[in-house]
Symmetry: C2
Subunit: 183 residues, 2 copies
Amino acid sequence: MKYCSNCGSDSLAFKIPEGDNLPRHICGNCQTIFYQNPRIITGTLPIWQDQILLCKRAIEPRYGLWTLPAGFMENNETVEQAATRETWEEAQAKVEQLNLYVMASLPDRNQVYMIFCAQLSDLNYAPGIESLDVKLFKKDEIPWNNIAFRVITKTLNYYFDDRVIGEFPLHMTTLLKPINNNC
Amino acid sequence: MKYCSNCGSDSLAFKIPEGDNLPRHICGNCQTIFYQNPRIITGTLPIWQDQILLCKRAIEPRYGLWTLPAGFMENNETVEQAATRETWEEAQAKVEQLNLYVMASLPDRNQVYMIFCAQLSDLNYAPGIESLDVKLFKKDEIPWNNIAFRVITKTLNYYFDDRVIGEFPLHMTTLLKPINNNC
């Protein structure tokens, strides 16, 4: 942030406002305080019998690797609507019976992931504009070495472990940035 | 948003970027796209035996009304850390055994509330800078007509209903803006 988006001044300071305890961008001209907060990434783990739907990414980061359909929650929608919308956009798939399954904080990236377990409504899926391919995988077919993000690998592991017992409780977890800066 | 915070230009347009499907603020000079996303408000429902800790607000909106300790999640923290921090800041109270209890989407306000049930660690609580008073309430002492936000009233109702059965599952809910514009 180099200029004030309210008045256009370049007299921005990064300091702690009066009565606050964290530094913020503050405009020296119009005094506007700019807050920056974590963003929500939400999506689904679409289930069809003993299979899971994955998408092959057509965009960076992680072009060509596999992931669950998920993306940034937008303004003016609920978390469930956002997860359903992302599943439609990336996999052209309809889902139902959404249950919050993984909530992962990524404090180094200022992101919170919310992944819902969901039942695929039918087999009418296809790659959306951000996917190269969309495919159902049985557990032993999952491309474990080609998963795009660690939070997705973790979610898939939770799922296949929980499936043995048949119970799918909410998993709260934290992922810190590894030294090699992988996602 | 009136000026580009990257280059200071006033040639901002609000339109759909190529490959996107929602309008964003886009700078006509440096082409930067500005995304706006919902914010997370998180906090706790602090429990001590058959009592609940509430805070009387010392700030607007809803000055003088009662609420659970909660506030905006900051960058570089986990959701649980944010909920614990807000409980400390507003009620000077320590909490433990956090369990996600209410997740409420407020799509008209671009907010997602995440309230954790939590056990108060001890009775050393006191008003923080944003509170006029902090007090433990039994069910029949709750100031129902003076609760600051509808999502807090809903959370308290969930809790007292669930307490009868002794089970506290996650409640996913949506609150839409009422016609009278109340919070």
